[in-house]
Symmetry: D2
Subunit: 309 residues, 4 copies
């Protein structure tokens, strides 16, 4: 462990202990019945350097539902397979507010603003159905390969729990179908979508899985080139502008790293070339991002003075 890494260990340790003592505001996601049962006090952090050193704090070994974080992996897989053609079906612009997203679909003829809002991920799911025989197995194999971890699984329970109440996503899927940008049956697309969001990982696993985005597209632990350099940068750019719903600008502003959050309370952020940091704390702020996760990352990049900017 080099001295810079020691310093990071101490910084994280200090911030972790500080944040865990402070008030833990927000609510666990309540629109997915299974998620609302999670203990809101869970708190895990993991930092993985591109030299393969990895730290973990708190509940960093406990699996949680990564939810929308999975959209980055979904995008990576389909981008890898079909290349730039993917952008004929989904754009790369921030969406403004969730409030606008339905309006924009109408104006934009069914092309979602970016692959990290629900409408965009649904369209990417639709593409995935078209390019392989068994999309659930194909996606899971990809995750296993990228994470180097063959124990990773979907959660049937979470997927079914979400599907049972996914009326808003069903509305989106049918609406995009009516506008011509979904080719398969809305139910099939929605089913794939909830499974992809149901992937479970721990912070330690999440950092490993996302390591290719800090490492010019190549897995840290084997020679596998997931994406080329240009594709890697582009996914990081989309995370920067669109990774935190309508708090994306705020995250760029306060934290200064590309990243992605999920309603399970997870966040992953990338310092290109240097490290991947993953967090989990289930209580969400009003914008749907982990309350403690946002706080931790702001203090972390303030202390380290890290930022891509």
């Amino acid at each position: 462990m080099i001295s810079k890494e020691k310093e990071y260990f101490e910084i994280i340790n200090k911030i972790y202990l500080k944040v865990i003592k402070e008030e833990n505001l927000g609510e666990t996601a309540n629109y997915i019945p299974e998620l609302s049962k999670i203990d809101g006090e869970k708190f895990g952090v993991s930092l993985l350097f591109t030299d393969q050193l990895q730290f973990g704090f708190g509940d960093c070994e406990e699996k949680f539902s990564i939810q929308s974080i999975s959209k980055v992996l979904l995008l990576a897989l389909v981008y890898r397979d079909i290349g730039e053609k993917i952008w004929e079906r989904v754009d790369v612009e921030p969406s403004g507010t969730s409030f606008n997203s339905l309006l924009q679909l109408e104006t934009d003829k069914g092309i979602p603003r970016n692959p990290f809002i629900n409408s965009g991920a649904l369209v990417v799911c639709d593409i995935l159905i078209d390019i392989c025989d068994d999309p659930k197995a194909y996606f899971l194999d990809f995750i296993k390969k990228v994470s180097g971890n063959y124990s990773i699984q979907y959660s049937d329970k979470i997927a079914k729990s979400e599907f049972s109440t996914a009326y808003r996503n069903a509305a989106l899927t049918n609406f995009i179908k009516s506008l011509g940008n979904i080719h398969n049956s809305p139910d099939d697309v929605l089913d794939l979508y909830v499974y992809i969001c149901s992937i479970e990982m721990s912070c330690m696993e999440l950092s490993k899985t996302f390591s290719f985005l800090a490492n010019k597209g190549k897995n840290l632990f084997d020679d596998y080139q997931v994406l080329n350099i240009s594709q890697t940068k582009r996914i990081n750019a989309i995370m920067q502008t669109c990774g935190f719903y309508d708090e994306s600008g705020e995250f760029a502003f306060r934290v200064g790293l590309p990243g992605k959050s999920g309603v399970g309370g997870g966040i992953v952020a990338i310092m290109p070339k240097y490290y991947i940091v993953s967090l989990w704390s289930p209580k969400l702020n009003l914008k749907g991002n982990s309350y403690r996760g946002m706080k931790f990352l702001e203090e972390f990049t303030t202390a380290t003075e890290d930022s891509i900017f």
Copy 2:
């Protein structure tokens, strides 16, 4: 000139010669009468390294109307003067589409989405009026200091030309006033705004003026600390997420650098710690950004493999 800089010189030279031979699409801004008269074939580029070496190509010495690029300098001045309080009056989120911006003002009680859309810059102008006696002189002094160039001036002709047809900005100003987030007279705010946008600089001057954003907040050519490190990163972050209207995501995706464009056809982009690149080519694409400027920068960061991501 070190070898890396030589390499950049050759790359720019090659791309400059390539782009200037290709079709020059788009239109010069036609809603400001004076701007529509500019020769659409003008094309200048300037690269300034943080070691103070500077290159220039084509019409890099010719002054042009920097228009919205000025909003970054306006923000820098007011942010320097009043600090984080500025964010009570304007947010830091991308706006989605221009189409949404009026709607959002209503929903958001007059708080513009960010300081680089017109509504946001109008609010920052309103603050500037409140914090000094002669805002036009105060802003010009700031520009002169930051650029190290005491010849920089407003263009009365451009300002008056814009004021005479600024009905949409007058609508915005009055609308925000009705929502309580403009304190001075709408006419005064609008008058200051068109003057600030009328600043004229060459690409060479623009690179120098923006050098503090690549240099941790400090002017390259003297010891003046314009902003602190945190403020500097934050302005770069806002440029990244909001600097190119509803093409901001596309710019992050294709070019990968924070930057800002103006309807005069100028663009400035920052590679933090390394360089500032400025361009001018007056024909605009459908999103209002310089057609050749966007093309040049995409080819430039592809060739150099530069990106913050």
Copy 3:
């Protein structure tokens, strides 16, 4: 036949012959596959006076798909059964443009603007499912009773044809479900909706079926009081303000009678106390209303000087 009625016969005859000679613009509804096959040159008119005299012209005996006209009968049935409580679930305001309707649902917490836009009729279907055991049979019995015609039927073919492509209505149903204003399964609601819209009648039958709305709520041909006087006026009022999508104002302005159109090309209009006029011509204008139907009615009320205003 009294002399005033003779005069009306001659007026209609003359306008019918005039309109049928003029260009027949527009398109038959193409989003429901079965409807797009209908002969666009069909043209029927029927006038029924409250003294029971009835005229018919052209294809007035041929059954067609009454589509959205059915929403008035659906509203009448549920209004009769649950009274003013219905307005807790659906409003009585015009919706502006179809473009706004999704936005408004979000702002208005799932309460559709009125019962004649699709979202409103879907909510009324949802209520109907809750208040009876077999809603399809119950609605059909109501239509048979009101029309005095026991041969009226749903069209399985049209209903299934519509269901197979009803993605937009599926989107609406799921969206309202997510907002809490649909209680049953979205598929059940949508299935009932497409059946209700698939009812087939001729112009002659349509006039008879709607006679209670010109007759203080009482069927013309038996003693059955469908609605009370106040309810009857209220349904006429809603037809006036909301009966023709975003051409409702235009219809009030040009024709001056309450009425309702359907994408099958049918229109029914009411002159309270005096008559019911029904038309059928399948080619639709850009707002989705029968091109010849609108033209005929404007000329008709111009010639007769009839208007409620």
Copy 4:
């Protein structure tokens, strides 16, 4: 006084006494400083039959600011002068919600949805400026002629009070100007608009002024034909669909007569061929219509069973 008229007298008297005893909810308009000072307990009613009999109750002789009610007279004047060409500049559709009105202007290229929303009246003011030399004098002469009352005046105080805070209307005017549907200077249009809204009348005068709309376009008290029959019906139709902001459907539904309200607390409603009823009570409900006025009219048409439907 015929027996039917006696009956109406008694009905009004009874409802007047009932309503004045009940709670008087709502607020006087507070965005126009002068209007907020009015005594909220004022309450006047006047009924004028087309046989020229007129009743008055309460504060029926006291002048108040008729505000938006004036838009009907403005429309009548310009419609009279330029005929159907007026509809090239303004539409006749309900606007849905005020929330939509800015959005719709953008989509509809500056054509306001109807002449009774602010944007529509501003466009009609713009036309008025084009068709006469002194629009304020010309409009006032028209009002004097139509009302048969040469004492009617603008209120300088109200007009200036409104102008001083008319930021939202200034926003609208400039926005429409930017979209090309206002030809004169925004300030001139806005100045005319606030004067037209500042007209003061009592309920007694208001009923007389609007008598032509119940009398086939002809003044009750002289032979002057203000509008032809078709134009008269059309203005009534627009009042029915658009006269009460986003409570227009509710008014058609509950009251069943065409009418127009103003933020001064006035309402005028028309029973074509029979009577004109005017009310004044300054406290407004949440939609901006007189709280007691709405209540009175609903009880009145319930008691009389009057309705155009």
